[in-house]
């Protein structure tokens, strides 16, 4: 009983402290449990690996901001790196100003890491990869891209005319894009599915925060999306798949966090169980 009283009166800052330790310690002493790849992740990977011919185009939608970057930023980097490794062209697009900064950072990072680990196959901004300018209008932008991408944006995020960029050669609209992977933690995913996929038949994959992952299984079953990366785990699985190819030396942000993720999850389960024990013991005592 003493114990029950103790835990129900515990200051929450102790819980905060233990949680912090649960996450910091695994970073210092990593274990590295093996992990299985889930089918929704594998299908995006396989599509980029096998179904897109060299020179094909992958469009990455960076519709997230720093608040969810921990989960989505690793996805942007690893998918872009994978596309580059197959000599595909990568276009980043964003419907929000905050996403432009994220995309720009991802491009910067991937290019730097790629060129460091592959000196014989250098990639260039504007030739292999670029960021389309941020244009407001959300659904209107998505629809207009289906008609004419160059006309939608006029310029890339750096102020270069799209019509003069090598990366845009032969790209008119969604018909020339092999796959779009939309990275977002909000309902903007629906905007892309409704307009780009529904109206123009753009092939889509989703990368989303774990919060929304359960919800989006509906679109996988209805085949509106070919696959999905859900949260940090999804990103980690993708990093593992790409790692087997051994072409990209960038930091594996998602994978190194997996031990911490494991220990934190165990901690959460223990918390819920302890809390409920206290609740039931108390309830029984009050009932008597």
């Amino acid at each position: 009983m003493k114990f029950i009283n103790f835990i129900s009166n515990l200051d929450k800052r102790w819980i905060y402290l233990i949680l912090a330790l649960c996450i910091i310690i695994p970073f210092l002493f990593p274990v590295g449990f093996p992990m299985k790849t889930t089918p929704p992740v594998k299908s995006i990977y396989d599509f980029i690996e096998d179904s897109i011919p060299e020179g094909g185009v992958v469009l990455i939608g960076a519709d997230y901001d720093p608040s969810t970057m921990a989960e989505l930023h690793p996805m942007a980097k690893v998918i872009a790196a994978h596309a580059l490794s197959n000599n595909l062209r990568v276009l980043f697009v964003t419907l929000y100003p905050q996403g432009a900064g994220m995309a720009q950072d991802a491009i910067d990072n991937v290019l730097k890491e790629w060129n460091k680990s592959n000196p014989e196959n250098q990639k260039q901004l504007g030739k292999d990869i670029t960021l389309l300018a941020y244009v407001p209008g959300v659904s209107a932008v998505v629809l207009k891209m289906g008609e004419d991408i160059t006309q939608t944006f006029n310029e890339d995020g750096y102020g270069n005319k799209l019509s003069e960029l090598e990366v845009m050669k032969g790209i008119k609209n969604y018909n020339d894009i092999n796959l779009m992977v939309e990275l977002a933690g909000s309902s903007v995913v629906l905007t892309w599915l409704i307009y780009a996929n529904g109206r123009y038949g753009l092939k889509m994959g989703i990368g989303t925060t774990a919060v929304s992952a359960a919800e989006y299984y509906s679109y996988l079953q209805s085949k509106q999306a070919i696959g999905m990366l859900g949260g940090l785990k999804g990103a980690a699985e993708y990093e593992h798949l790409l790692d087997k190819k051994n072409v990209y030396g960038g930091r594996k942000d998602a994978s190194i966090g997996m031990d911490a993720q494991s220990s934190a999850h165990i901690f959460f389960i223990i918390l819920i169980i302890l809390g409920n024990i206290a609740y039931f013991v108390k309830k029984r005592k009050e009932g008597k």
Partner: protein, 225 residues
């Protein structure tokens, strides 16, 4: 009266109906109308961004003027907003502007812009940190308030437990089949309920859209009747 209410309602009704009908007409004439509308929409919505700026500036301005409790913090908002915008507009967003390079001859076109410094080293860490606080709130709530108080809540917590464990490598280490169990839950029972909810929500959204076009839903026009 005409400008205040009738015209806006007419505008939304006319363009709404025209664009619904456009969907069903594949003729090139309808297609060019559609393209024109999209161009217009993009340019007009470029100005809607101003509203967000205006309302924030106004809010903090009034706070300072009225000396509301904590008004000093509003000064921080306005100053940082002004400085960042100034740096961004003159220094360039993702590539330094020619003006900036003229003022600072040592800056190369490939250099990081001043705006990106504020983004990468101030906005990014702060915004992501604020949301990471949720991990702590969640832990304390897990301990103090997530209770199996009914059959429904128990079922919810048990599923949650399975998913939480099954989605990390450690869960797989404990029991090899766990990821498949989780995948099954997500793919079938979860998917079915999510879809049921989604169908209801979509019907609601469509109903609201139709009411806007019909002019019987006017809340989006803001205050007053």
């Amino acid at each position: 009266m005409f400008l205040r209410r009738t015209l806006p309602l007419l505008v939304s009704a006319i363009f709404g109906i025209a664009l619904i009908l456009q969907f069903f007409v594949p003729h090139p004439a309808s297609k060019s109308f559609y393209n024109l509308m999209l161009d217009w929409l993009i340019i007009v919505s470029a100005f809607t961004y101003l509203i967000a700026v205006q309302s924030t500036v106004e809010l903090h301005f009034t706070k300072i003027k009225r000396k509301v409790e904590g008004w000093q913090y509003s000064i921080i908002v306005l100053v940082s907003l002004f400085v960042t915008a100034l740096l961004g507009v003159f220094g360039g967003a993702f590539m330094p502007t020619t003006l900036w390079m003229k003022i600072f001859p040592s800056v190369k076109p490939t250099d990081t812009t001043p705006l990106m410094y504020t983004y990468l080293y101030m906005q990014m860490p702060m915004q992501s940190t604020i949301f990471s606080l949720l991990a702590f709130y969640m832990a304390s709530a897990a301990f103090r308030s997530f209770r199996a108080r009914s059959f429904d809540a128990t079922l919810l917590l048990v599923t949650a437990g399975i998913v939480t464990l099954g989605r990390v490598p450690l869960g797989e280490f404990i029991y090899k089949g766990l990821p498949d169990v989780v995948e099954w839950i997500l793919k079938y029972p979860n998917m079915a309920a999510q879809r049921g909810i989604l169908i209801g929500v979509q019907l609601g959204i469509i109903a609201t859209s139709i009411k806007i076009i019909l002019g019987i839903e006017r809340k989006y026009l803001g205050g007053g009747k």
